[in-house]
């Protein structure tokens, strides 16, 4: 126990180095909230209440030896919430776009979700397509192949998952994080810009005077 603590100290005083913001989108009932719950709690919540507006969950993961905190915003899929949920795309580093493999209509709506995602996030936002409920293969209404093709055509990452069995859920969230991390590493994601959806915690001890690179603009607030 104690040695573990000491190792922590040696590795750096911080719990995690980055915060990645995710948004989960898709039609109502495709299992967005269940996916989030499965990922954060490792449990299937069968009688998940309807999401009202937006809710969020967090979990710390590790990518390439870096601890990363995922802050995941789950939105309501109902049309009447669309105006509200649209405001949450801003500043997302990852967008998980979910459809239900047993309901074709949820797949057909993907292009409209994708348009929103492209228009309202920054160009580096990683969009991951999830075909949920793959445990219900008997009721399948969308083939893997066509969804895969849709993903390829639009440059999306893609997996079929099940929030119920947990299959591939971990991978979908982690692969998204890896991709974002890779974007940071090769410099295509600029962390200094606000609302990149990624917040970096410096690994060097901070200097109390160096609070931020930008001058405090509080004065112009009013």
């Amino acid at each position: 126990m104690k040695s573990h603590k000491a190792a922590d100290m040696a590795a750096g005083p911080y719990n995690y180095s980055y915060i990645f913001k995710y948004i989960i989108i898709g039609d109502m009932g495709v299992g967005k909230s269940c996916l989030l719950h499965q990922f954060t709690e490792k449990k299937f919540m069968a009688d998940c209440p309807h999401t009202i507006g937006v809710e969020f969950g967090t979990r710390i993961i590790e990518v390439a030896g870096q601890k990363i905190k995922l802050q995941i915003w789950d939105t309501a899929g109902q049309e009447r919430f669309r105006a509200v949920t649209r405001s949450y795309y801003r500043g997302a580093a990852g967008a998980l776009m979910v459809y239900d493999i047993t309901r074709r209509s949820t797949y057909n709506h993907l292009s409209s979700w994708l348009t929103d995602a492209r228009n309202l996030t920054n160009p580096n936002t990683v969009i991951f397509l999830i075909g949920n409920k793959c445990d219900l293969d008997a009721q399948r209404d969308v083939t893997f192949e066509e969804a895969k093709q849709f993903a390829d055509e639009n440059g999306l990452m893609f997996l079929e998952c099940s929030a119920k069995t947990g299959e591939n859920v971990e991978d979908a969230f982690l692969d998204t994080a890896k991709k974002i991390y890779q974007n940071i590493q090769d410099g295509s994601l600029d962390l200094n810009a606000a609302e990149s959806g990624v917040q970096h915690k410096p690994a060097t001890p901070r200097n109390p005077l160096n609070t931020d690179q930008t001058p405090n603009k509080e004065g112009c607030a009013c």
């Binding site: 922590d8 100290m9 005083p13 911080y14 937006v54 990149s196 607030a221």
Partner: protein, 637 residues
């Protein structure tokens, strides 16, 4: 024994001494007597010549020889004796020496006895002291800081915190509390002294910890604060000093508060990398998006700040309300810039629909953010105020519309249809109710709003219609009102929570329909000349005598009127009031028509029965009223 042995002859002989001597000699076995043999052997060395003389001298020889040997022996022993004497004197001397030594030792022993006993005492004492020293060491171990611990507590000049600081602090605390045991023993002075010294250590340690924490917290102004485990431990340790804990957490709150304000302003004015997502203010021309984006940003920031706060206090047992208080402080800074902007939007917006959408949006966020912060939070009260404003602005706008309606009342158009202000207002109502349909607020709020909206729109509309209709004749008025109210009714019928309103409107339509049908019926009766006749029939009393005797009721007059009625029966539509045809709703129109016919049939039946009544003394009633009421009903329906 010899006398009893008769056979032993020699017994007598044996008793002879000589015999006995001889026997003895004979019996002597020389070779068995070693001494004898030795003696003989020695003798043979000196007795070399066996002759008489020598045999005679043997004895003296032997004696001489013995003497010589003895003399020699003596001489030899003389030397031995002298030697022994010398040994004896040596031993004696030695003995004396020993005696002397013994005496001396004894004296020494006597002398050292004291010393030994002294030594023993000292030894025992030393052991006791050693024990005491061990106890003292143990005591010190337990009740005193090690020098390095004291150093850690005292800290370095740069104010950095040693990793072992918390252990040292824990030791100080432990010692301090252990002192209470001392106080119960007879070591009270030590207890008090140690306690005092520990208290001093503790105070300086907390002071240092507080300074450190304060500095650390003050620096947490980044987009996402770096809350180190050490800082979490520091907060935990500071829990023992509630005032310092509060100051530290306030420091954190202040740092975060300015970070949130800066982040908010950045999101408003700078946007994302390369401008995507765009700065929120870029959408200020689109009030819903502008306000929605600000609200979403605030929601996310508030949720994140709560997380940071929770991770800062993850080792501390604090109440949720305390966290919420701090969160309230953190989110307080953005209230002003946020409020100013939203107020500006609300005050410059005139469109009721947009205002209503904004109102709903704010209501939604009020509910959402209320789940994160507590009721005392400035952010929430700001939201309440803003939402209050949006509510007022919306109803203001509705009332404004209504006032305009009443200020400039349009004249009814010739077709008695709705005025353009009525259709416009109803369109507005539809738009408002439609966005209510898409609203994100709970049902209860919705119901409440509906009531208010309806009374804000429908009541002035009704009023406007009445005012506008006031110069019309009653038939035109009825038709005009029916058309107007019907339009309102059909608009409302599409939405929930309108049942009471619909019922009320229906009742008003009925009332106007009643007017219209009675006008229609009397119009028909008048045109065919039956209205006077019907009036007399209706009011006829038996005391007046038979009907046929009353003026104007003679068979000829009645018959001619009935003939005209008959031609009406041939083409009933010819006598429909134009206003009835102007009723927009086919349903109401048909209904009115049917009910007018009912009235006419009823009137006919009454007249028919009166004429057939013998007391009225009409001869040949069938020539006057040839059609039965049933026939009339059939013809008219």
């Amino acid at each position: 024994m010899a006398d009893k042995d008769p056979s032993d002859v020699s017994t007598n002989q044996a008793n002879n001494p000589l015999t006995r001597k001889l026997n003895k000699i004979l019996e002597t076995r020389l070779d068995n007597d070693k001494d004898m043999l030795e003696a003989l052997k020695a003798l043979s060395t000196i007795f070399t010549e066996n002759n008489l003389r020598s045999r005679r001298n043997l004895r003296s020889d032997i004696e001489k020889r013995s003497l010589a040997i003895n003399e020699e022996f003596l001489q030899s022993f003389q030397a031995v004796k002298e030697q022994l004497d010398s040994v004896y004197s040596d031993v004696k001397e030695m003995n004396e020496c020993c005696q002397d030594m013994t005496n001396r030792l004894k004296a020494a022993k006597d002398q050292t006895h004291d010393l030994i006993s002294q030594t023993t005492t000292l030894h025992a004492e030393s052991q006791k002291l050693q024990m005491k020293s061990q106890v003292a060491d143990a005591f010190l171990n337990k009740f005193q800081l090690k020098s390095e611990e004291a150093k850690i507590i005292r800290g370095t000049r740069d104010g950095a915190l040693h990793p072992e600081f918390f252990n040292a602090l824990a030791r100080v605390k432990q010692i301090h509390s252990d002192c209470k045991f001392l106080l119960r023993t007879n070591q009270q002075t030590a207890g008090l002294e140690i306690m005092e010294s520990m208290a001093l250590h503790q105070e300086s340690a907390y002071e240092r910890l507080y300074r450190w924490t304060q500095n650390e917290c003050r620096a947490l102004t980044g987009d996402s604060p770096d809350i180190s485990p050490v800082l979490c431990n520091a907060m935990k340790a500071l829990l023992d000093r509630p005032v310092l804990f509060k100051y530290s957490i306030d420091e954190f709150g202040t740092a975060r508060r300015s970070a949130v304000v800066r982040g908010f302003i950045d999101a408003l004015t700078r946007g994302g990398p390369g401008g995507t997502p765009r700065p929120i203010e870029l959408h200020s021309h689109d009030p819903l998006r502008y306000v929605g984006d600000m609200m979403a940003w605030l929601h996310q920031a508030t949720a994140s700040e709560k997380e940071y706060l929770q991770s800062l206090l993850k080792n501390c047992e604090v109440q949720e309300s305390q966290i919420e208080d701090v969160l309230g402080h953190i989110t307080e800074g953005v209230c002003r810039p946020f409020k100013v902007r939203v107020e500006q939007v609300l005050l410059s917006e005139q469109d009721a629909v947009t205002l209503y959408k904004l109102d709903n949006l704010l209501k939604f966020y009020h509910n959402t953010i209320r789940q994160i912060v507590n009721n005392e939070a400035a952010l929430l009260s700001t939201l309440t105020e803003i939402q209050d404003l949006s509510h007022r602005m919306f109803f203001n706008s509705l009332t404004c519309n209504a006032n305009k309606l009443l200020d400039r009342v349009e004249l009814p158009p010739p077709d008695l249809g709705p005025t353009s202000s009525l259709t416009q207002t109803l369109q507005l109502l539809r738009d408002v109710l439609a966005c209510h349909d898409a609203s994100v607020v709970p049902i209860d709020d919705k119901k409440q709003d509906f009531k208010q909206i309806l009374s804000c729109v429908v009541d002035p509309l009704l009023q406007m219609c009445s005012v506008s209709a006031s110069r019309l004749n009653s038939i035109d008025m009825a038709a005009y009102m029916i058309n107007g109210i019907y339009l309102m009714q059909s608009t409302l019928a599409l939405y929930e929570f309108t049942d009471t309103r619909l019922e009320m409107l229906q009742a008003q339509i009925e009332a106007h329909v009643d007017t219209l049908i009675s006008e229609q019926a009397s119009f028909v009766l008048t045109r065919v000349g039956l209205s006077t006749i019907y009036g007399i029939v209706e009011n006829h009393q038996p005391s007046q005598g038979p009907l046929s005797g009353i003026q104007g009721m003679d068979p000829i007059t009645v018959k001619s009127a009935m003939n005209k009625f008959d031609s009406y029966l041939a083409s009933p539509d010819s006598l429909t009031l134009p206003q009835c045809s102007l009723i927009l709703s086919a349903l109401v129109r048909d209904n009115a028509k049917r009910r007018a016919v009912d009235l006419i049939c009823q009137a006919y039946k009454q007249m028919y029965e009166a004429i057939y009544n013998p007391t009225n003394e009409y001869k040949e009633p069938q020539s006057i009223v040839p059609r039965t009421p049933d026939q009339v009903v059939k013809l008219l329906s």
